[in-house]
C-alpha cells in the first residue's frame, strides 16, 4: 500500500464529494483498529505555500478510510473558526534543520514504514519490529509541527500510547 498515493486519492475523493475545496489538503494518517478492521484517520486542512514557508490552517474535518479497500468509511466535521485560523508556519525548527536535499527522503522513509507499523499496531508480527517502530516514531516527531500534535492525538490516542510505549 502506497500511503502517500492513498492520501492523494482520499483528498481527491473528498473534493468530488464536496467535503473539500480546491485548496484543501490532507495529513499523514493515524491508524485505528476497530473490531479487527484497520482504519486510517486523516485530517483535512488547508496549507498555503509561500516558499520557503508553508502556512498550516486549522483542520476542518477528519476522514476514516478502510485500510484494506481504500474506501471512505466516515467523515466528521471538526469545530473550527470561520475562516479557519493559521495554526503556524512549516517547517518548524526540527524540520527546518534537515538539509533540503534530504527532506523528500525523510517523507519517503516515513511513508514506507507505515505498512509495517500499521501491521504491528494491529498485532501482526513484523520483521525487525522494534527497530521500525522506533524509526517511525523518530520520523513522526521530526515531521509533525508542535502545533499539530494535539489534532493527531485526537484521531486515536491509543496509537500514540502504543507508539511511545517502552520496548
Amino acid at each position: 500500500m502506497d500511503i502517500d498515493k492513498l492520501g492523494r486519492q482520499i483528498v481527491e475523493s473528498c473534493r468530488t464529494r464536496g467535503w473539500a475545496g480546491i485548496e484543501t489538503g490532507i495529513s499523514r494518517p493515524v491508524p485505528e483498529v476497530v473490531g479487527g478492521q484497520i482504519r486510517l484517520w486523516y485530517l483535512l486542512y488547508r496549507s498555503q505555500i509561500r516558499p520557503p514557508y508553508q502556512m498550516l490552517y486549522e483542520p476542518t474535518a477528519a476522514v476514516a478510510v478502510d485500510y484494506a479497500t481504500g474506501q471512505i468509511l466516515e467523515h466528521r466535521e471538526l469545530p473550527t473558526s470561520t475562516p479557519p485560523k493559521v495554526l503556524g508556519r512549516y517547517p518548524h525548527a526540527a524540520a527546518a534543520a534537515v538539509p533540503s536535499d534530504r527532506w523528500q527522503a525523510v517523507w519517503d522513509e516515513l511513508f514506507s514504514l507505515y505498512p509495517d507499523v500499521i501491521a504491528a499496531f494491529a498485532g501482526q508480527p513484523v520483521a525487525r519490529q522494534r527497530e521500525k517502530i522506533a524509526r517511525f516514531a523518530e520520523l513522526w516527531e521530526l515531521t509533525v509541527p508542535p502545533f499539530m500534535t494535539g489534532f493527531y492525538r485526537m484521531l486515536n490516542p491509543a496509537f500514540f500510547e502504543w507508539l511511545e510505549r517502552p520496548r
Partner: protein, 212 residues
C-alpha cells in the same frame, strides 16, 4: 603600495576593449532570426497583472480575475467572482472553490469573456492556447509544484495559477512562467518537469479564457 597597485591595474587593461571586436551586425542578425525559446523564457502572456490572494483560499477567484483583466483590460475585482461563488454554494471558506465546473459558468457570465474547462492532453495545449492569445488557468498540486524549494509538508492541497508563458526547448523539455496568487512577483519561471508533475496531480485541469 598604492602606486604599485595602480601600475599593476594599468598593465592588466587590454589595449583594445574585447567587445569592440564583435561584429555587431552579425549578432543583431542572429538575434532577429533566433526562435524565442533560444533567447529567453516563455513569454506569451507576461503582461498579465498579478492579483494576490492574501490569507483567504481565493486562488481560483484571483486567477479568474487576472485572466479577465488580461483579456479585457478591466480589473473586475475579487467580488465579481467571490460573491456569485458564495451565492451558488460553491465557495468554502475552509478551502476555496468546491466545484470548478460551476465556477467556469460564473466566468462565462462575465461580460466580454468566454471560458472553457478541459482536461488537457498535455503541455502543448497550454502553449497553443497562449500562442492564440488566450489566458490559461491551471490547477496544480501545490506541494508538487514547490517541493525542493523548502522543507514543506506533502499535504497535496490544490492550487490555481495563471500560466503566463509556455515553451518547449529543442531537447524536448518544457519551461513555464506563472502568476501564482500566493507569490509576490509575477511571471515566476518554473521548470517543466516540476510543473507537469504538479499539473498531472490535478488531472491537467485547464481553464482557457478569451475575449469575445
Amino acid at each position: 603600495m598604492a602606486s604599485n597597485l595602480e601600475n599593476s591595474d594599468v598593465r592588466e587593461i587590454p589595449e583594445q576593449n574585447p567587445t569592440e571586436q564583435i561584429d555587431r551586425s552579425a549578432l543583431d542578425a542572429r538575434l532577429k532570426h533566433a526562435k524565442p525559446l533560444e533567447v529567453g523564457a516563455p513569454d506569451q502572456m507576461l503582461d498579465t497583472p498579478l492579483r494576490r490572494q492574501g490569507a483567504q483560499p481565493d486562488c481560483l477567484l484571483r486567477s479568474a480575475q487576472m485572466a479577465e483583466e488580461r483579456q479585457t483590460g478591466r480589473n473586475p475585482g475579487l467580488d465579481a467572482y467571490k460573491q456569485p461563488a458564495i451565492e451558488r454554494g460553491i465557495y468554502d471558506p475552509n478551502g476555496g472553490v468546491t466545484d470548478v465546473n460551476r465556477f467556469v459558468d460564473i466566468i462565462n457570465e462575465r461580460p466580454d469573456v468566454q471560458a472553457e474547462l478541459t482536461e488537457a492532453d498535455g503541455p502543448e495545449d497550454i502553449k497553443e492556447a497562449l500562442d492564440g492569445g488566450q489566458s490559461v488557468i491551471v490547477c496544480v498540486d501545490a506541494y508538487d509544484l514547490y517541493k525542493g524549494l523548502g522543507n514543506f509538508e506533502p499535504a497535496h492541497g490544490g492550487h490555481a495559477i495563471v500560466v503566463t508563458g509556455a515553451d518547449q526547448a529543442s531537447d524536448g523539455s518544457w519551461q513555464f512562467a506563472i502568476n501564482d496568487p500566493n507569490a509576490e512577483a509575477p511571471n515566476i519561471p518554473v521548470d517543466g518537469s516540476r510543473f507537469l508533475q504538479a499539473w498531472n496531480g490535478m488531472h491537467r485541469l485547464m481553464i482557457t479564457v478569451e475575449k469575445v
